[in-house]
Symmetry: C2
Subunit: 227 residues, 2 copies
């Protein structure tokens, strides 16, 4: 599940092109982190010192730029999965993965606001996802064999659990300052208790299969990226 190198381009780019691409990525990373996914592309282009046309030459769509930036975050998740696998205690391994993910969501507005299921339509994201799923599957099975995780949980549940976590974390974000810091940990705790075998009651629906998850095409633009 180690981080992969980003797509190698067909043929080498011209010197100024690689430089602009890098400037664009750096500018986008900062701008998105500060202002969320709604920052104007013009702002990002200006920050990078290039025209808007150049931005769209490198990233055909604003979403593509966002995905490229998000890739760093996903690499972070992949790393936390590796760490979770390395933990001695299987339950602590799962806790580590979910904590790291939620912490990421609470630090970077971009991740939680933009990482909707529409991203399943992006090819690069999909490849990352596949790799991460394997690691998560191992963590869950290990937890189940140790009797620390409820038996009816599947790896395919994880995206939805992360989404639930994101919903709570997102709700915390604008309250930051007025509300106890790290409040999201409370709801992570609640959710974790739901993953344990002790209080487990039969679930009213079966989990989706891996194939079903990947069946989504690029959804008709919605959410934070519509426009």
């Amino acid at each position: 599940v180690s981080p992969e190198a980003p797509d190698a381009p067909e043929r080498p780019l011209r010197a100024d092109a690689v430089r602009n691409r890098e400037l664009l990525l750096a500018a986008a990373r900062e701008a998105f982190a500060e202002g969320g996914p709604d920052v104007a592309v013009r702002t990002i282009a200006k920050r990078a010192g290039v025209g808007p046309g150049t931005l769209f030459r490198h990233f055909p769509t604003k979403r593509d730029l966002l995905v490229a930036v998000l890739d760093g975050a996903f690499a972070g998740m992949a790393a936390s999965i590796d760490e979770g696998l390395a933990a001695e205690d299987p339950w602590e391994g799962l806790v580590h993965v979910l904590t790291a993910t939620a912490e990421l969501q609470s630090r970077d507005r971009t991740v939680l606001e933009a990482a909707g299921p529409e991203l399943f339509g992006d090819e690069h994201f999909r490849r990352r996802m596949d790799g991460m799923m394997e690691g998560i599957a191992r963590i869950i099975v290990r937890g189940q064999e140790a009797g620390a995780v409820r038996d009816d949980l599947t790896p395919e549940d994880l995206p939805f659990i992360v989404a639930a976590l994101g919903g709570a974390t997102e709700h915390c974000a604008p309250l930051e300052g007025d509300v106890p810091p790290g409040l999201w940990r409370r709801y992570l705790g609640l959710l974790l208790d739901g993953l344990r075998p002790e209080g487990a009651h039969p679930l009213p629906a079966r989990a989706p299969t891996h194939e079903q998850l990947l069946a989504v095409k690029v959804a008709k633009g919605s959410g934070a990226l519509a426009g």
Copy 2:
């Protein structure tokens, strides 16, 4: 917690004004339900047969229109709280409230995409919220006295739990058709198991107080309503 009448206007509106207001609300209700909160105001105005200027005379901001439409959904939630209070079994009462809420979220894209914490800034929403909180508090206390709900849960946790539910439900929505129907019930089930006392472990953060929740001003526009 019974539904209140919408704000009574200072002085009676002219006949054509009340008619236009109603047409606008009906058009917005349909348009938002179909296309989510991103539908253009021009589309709504055209659907209602009025000019865009008229729309903004009745609803100074697109968000105000959305809040007015959402009010129906909130009335539905208030009703489900009353039903939850009427249930013989305290646990079933809580389940009823959360199920009804999630069902609402899964039926109407608007509710789940727009009901972020920015709405706390809206006065009308705030009044509704206050009324609902009381009912929820009674349901939770009743459950705790019966030993069916974990002791460290507070009414102020509910908005975050609903947000978590919304995160999972929102993640399900675009997968509709590819994924088992009613998949959100699975994650509601997981969450509910986290609310039970059986598997409860100490939570790493204290719940916010009611005052903290209401401290939010209108957040600098973000999310689905920015622009």
